[in-house]
């Protein structure tokens, strides 16, 4: 196994006085997709937020290493520029800022970080339109406000589109499958699969197994009470689908 893209050691996190993560250990090697599953309130979204640098979470113990650097020392925007992408469970609407502008600003922020020149307008449009076709999104979307008036499914597709344009090295997708009908789920899965490559890693945070029918994970971790209580292969997800989470919670 090569050096992991993400290495989490004994991570403890509080929100206010409440401890939401209580000793997470996780290694995510390049080229792999890991799924984080667990019941509501188990800490799945907290883990995603902490990795992306959302304010309001206090790390009380442990470390997170991303490609050899201390991830927790970086502000949110620098994590993004270093190749980390968070797909939001509830993407935010920002009327007045159009999708094209945000995509380009985000893309160029990463390129500047890597000392690459800013993308020219023509190359940008070509790139975005190609990715939009993959996500089956209409071109009129580009001039609309970010997520403004989008349906739940459109918002999730937009998250994946952003991911495909930004080409992150580590994608953390927080319940990207929730609220999707089966057709949208397939489109989103196609997008995720197209990002899989030996240099990248993906952390899929999900409540249900159904996304994993379309994106086969290399490993599945079950989170409960702020800890990983069980890890296994893709078959663990199917077992959870059949048996629910209770048997694990009892064992934990």
């Amino acid at each position: 196994m090569s050096t992991p893209i993400l290495s989490i050691q004994d991570l403890h996190v509080k929100v206010g006085e409440r401890e939401v993560l209580r000793g997470i250990n996780l290694e995510l090697p390049a080229g792999q997709v890991h799924a984080i599953m667990g019941p509501n309130g188990s800490g799945k979204s907290s883990l995603s937020h902490v990795l992306a640098g959302k304010p309001g979470y206090t790390v009380t113990r442990g470390s997170v290493n991303y490609k050899g650097t201390d991830l927790l020392a970086l502000p949110a925007e620098e994590r993004a520029r270093a190749g980390l992408f968070l797909g939001f469970q509830y993407p935010v609407e920002i009327p007045g800022v159009n999708n094209a502008y945000l995509l380009r600003a985000a893309l160029n922020a990463g390129r500047r970080q890597r000392s690459e020149p800013e993308i020219d307008a023509f190359d940008f449009l070509t790139l975005v339109k190609e990715r939009m076709a993959l996500m089956k999104m209409d071109e009129s979307f580009l001039s609309r406000g970010v997520n403004e008036g989008f349906s739940g499914g459109e918002k999730k597709r937009n998250e994946i589109l952003q991911m495909l344009v930004l080409q992150p090295q580590l994608a953390v997708l927080d319940e990207t499958d929730s609220g999707l009908d089966i057709d949208a789920l397939k489109v989103v899965a196609t997008g995720i699969n197209s990002l899989r490559s030996p240099e990248r890693a993906i952390l899929l945070v999900t409540h249900y197994q159904r996304l994993l029918d379309h994106v086969t994970p290399d490993a599945v971790h079950v989170l409960a009470g702020g800890r990983i209580v069980k890890s296994g292969g893709a078959e663990l997800a199917r077992e959870l689908e059949q048996r629910g989470y209770d048997w694990l919670l009892e064992a934990a």
Binding site: A52, G53, K54, P55, P75, A76, E77, R79, A80, R81, F85, L86, F88, P91, V92, I94, P95, G96, V97, N98, Y101, L102, A105, A106, A109, G110, Q113, G145, V146, Q162, L166
Partner: protein
Amino acid sequence: MNAVARPPVPGSMSNAAYEQRLRDAVMDAAALLNARLLPVSVRSAALNRALAAGLPQLRDDLWRYADLRFLASAALAPVAPDAPGLLSAAIDPLLPPRLSGFTRLVFANGRLYEPGSDASDALDLALPPLVPERTRHERFGWLNDAFATGVARLKVNAPMRVEVVFAATPGAVRQAVYPRLEVQLSPDTQLVLVERHVGTTGSEGTINAAVQVFAGAGSQVNHLRWQALDADAQLLDTVQLAMDRDARYELVQLQLGARSARTSLRASLFGAGAAFSLHGVALAQGRRTLDHSLLVDHLASRTQSTQVLRAIAGDHAHIACRSRVEIGQAAPGSLSAQSLKGLLGNAGAEIDLRPQLEIHTDDVKASHGATTGALEENMRFYLLSRGVDAATARALLEWAFLEDALAGVAPPELRAAAENAAASALGSDVARQLVVPA
């Protein structure tokens, strides 16, 4: 919101002192008060009303947040114009590029400035003056009636585009300037009006502007008011709009400059089916105070009004807006919606938004809302999580906040002009890039 009322005028300024200052101003300016612009009877009646009204009292809800302290010392009298060469050297650099397709009228220190103005058949001083009924809400409008030294009196009989630039400079002598615009639209005609306020008379001067528009039956007005005065300017601004049957009035108001600016606006929807909309943006930094008092009177059936105001205050600036909508007994079937929102840049800034609604008839749909707060943390984090730096994220979100008031502005060139002005005032390249071209 930290709503601490402060006296509009410091305690040292009594009504008696104010009265004396006004009487002195009349004596000083008597020779300049041209009866051809406004008859002596109008001027003296207005002065008497102003004297009787005096200064706003401390607890006067209509004036509570206006910063009028400058009235104690700043000039109140107009003065003779500077020599032409001196005037043009000061005014010409202030004039913005022309808007193509517009008839331009320029005021220099309260007088029509011929070198910068176009000739127009619509301009006619022989028309009866438009002197609307004013109340204590518009009390400084009486001073304009009394002291106006220049008037653009327009009769619009055919579709027209007019750009009015009110330019001010401190001049050789400290002075008050009284620019005045009167517009009457014939039935079923259209006017696109851009009204700009630039320059300053300095901290020892005042600018007292009065704008009145009568929109005839079935007429349409798209009016951009764009206040971009210098940072030491002191503005008293009175706007009275009247709408006859089925007239449509779309007002875009940008308050982007001045040290202290108070706008008293009244929209009277007296004809059935008349519609009024306000798209307002107010930006204040430093110690700027921007006060708005808006009155919308629904006086006939099926009248409609909408107001969207977005205000951003930083540093120690203060923005206030009292917006009162009255739907009278004669106005069944009317609609009204008000949305006032404020964004505070830091703890030293203050925003006071007060929507008020009074309904005297049934069968009315009316809504109003006001909120003031800081940038929404969820939106900010979303942008940061895409690699956008904190300064850019703030600029984007401030722009998005303002854009809410400007997105619906028509025609497109007016929207683009308003957006460009707001983006420049925000001082961010980010916002400039987001302006939707016309």
